[in-house]
Amino acid sequence: MDALSEAFRLIITLDSDLFEILWLSIRVSVTALVISAVIALPLGTWLAITRFPGRKFCILLLNALMGIPPVVVGLIVYLLLSRSGPLGWLGLLYTPSAMIIAQVVLITPIIAALSNQVIEHLHQEYRDTFYSMGITGRRAVAAYMVDARYALTTCILAGFGRAIAEVGAVIIVGGNIDHLTRVMTTAIALETSKGNLTLALALGAVLLTLSLLVNALVIGIREYAAKRQYA
């Protein structure tokens, strides 16, 4: 109980350590999310509306990668970025950039697979009309993305939820270094193992609040879109 009240005191008094960790978590996850969205949304859309040999395998692969264990992603990125790895010369290991890369690898398949399903559904509806109007290629991809904007936003938020709550990959490639690569989830793991429940609880409360906010946003977007027949 004491730990809980102390945790709320940390939040209310805007504790600098807590907010440093919070800010880094958001910075890493939002950056990863933006990069992933730029890659995954057009990829998911393109896979939904084009037909080529191996397309089904690509979709299968994306769906399979949705469930890839974060520690495996962490290990792969670690091997790539380690001093003896192919990208070791970049010197990114144990930096926020490495954490961003790991999160991009982790959430790109999620956003791509979810957006693929959304656009597949829309494509069934629009295909004949777009053919009739001569809408193809990039213009079609852009049009699908605009028309599925609300559903795609929820896909992106699902990616954000996964990124912000992720611990396995970022702890491997970030190293959980204080004031450098310590994010909410890795800090919670560390502080709990040290028995310092105050900071862990405060971070947990913030993480839970963020998760609630993201979910509320998803529901709000869905309702707004449904009301305007944009869903």
Partner: protein, 236 residues
């Protein structure tokens, strides 16, 4: 000015769906401008024929030419209105702008004029999918006509609409035909066919059973199937 896609020549068109020949050896020549109505019982192959003409379905056999062009390279000259209008998840005006980005950029007043022509000016800023069925179909027609197609195809575009919407759409189709667009429309509605058609193509069992001027078709149909159809008898 007559449509640049005339004459429309269809030779030995064959389309198999599953194990069934939906179209079997369709031969047809359409030389005249104006409005051609395709009639026939359910399952006769009218919609499939129209979709082949538009390039939405590639037939298993046969050749289609539209004036000097093939189906594939006449796509920009054609427009089609479907039985169920598909509108983008955008406003009414944005739906038009999307169909004709060039016009939207250079002469946006034409978009407003297009909305005026289908009595939807006051709905310009509304989400298109919130319109009623009749309004959605009017918008789909306005969108199809924006680029002044040489060939306009309508697949039972007025089915399940109220009489006022039907008449408005018919008047727009007639006006467009008078401007030189060749119109081919599929309809079950004999009254509508009598009001609109210059020529009737009657399809039964995946074949063209009869092609004649509208007046002649309704007063003296040449085939027994057409007579039975017009008399409202059940055809198999």
């Amino acid at each position: 000015m007559p449509s640049s896609l005339l004459p429309i020549c269809i030779s030995d068109l064959r389309l198999i769906k599953g194990n069934r020949a939906v179209l079997q050896g369709v031969n047809l020549r359409i030389y005249e401008p104006g409005i051609t109505v395709i009639m026939g019982p359910n399952g006769a192959g009218k919609t499939m024929f129209l979709r082949c003409l538009h390039g939405l379905i590639i037939p298993d056999q046969g050749v289609i030419t539209l004036g000097p062009l093939t189906v594939a390279n006449s796509r920009d000259e054609q427009a089609m209105v479907f039985q169920q209008p598909v509108l983008l998840r955008r406003t009414v005006l944005q739906n038009l702008a999307f169909a004709a980005p060039g016009i939207a950029k250079t002469d946006p007043r034409r978009l407003i004029q297009a909305l005026e022509s289908v009595n939807l000016t006051d709905r310009a800023g509304q989400p298109a999918r919130m319109l009623s069925g009749g309004e959605q179909q009017r918008l789909a027609l306005a969108r199809a006509l924006l680029n002044e197609p040489a060939l306009l195809l309508l697949d039972e575009a007025t089915a399940s609409l109220d009489p006022a919407s039907v008449l408005l759409i018919e008047s727009l189709v007639k006006a467009q035909s008078a401007r030189g667009t060749k119109v081919i429309l599929v309809s079950h509605d004999q009254c509508q066919a009598r009001r609109l058609a210059d020529e009737i193509v009657f399809i039964a069992n995946g074949q063209v059973a009869e092609q004649s001027p509208a007046e002649q078709f309704f007063t003296a149909p040449q085939t027994r199937t057409a007579k039975a159809y017009l008399a409202g008898e059940i055809l198999f």
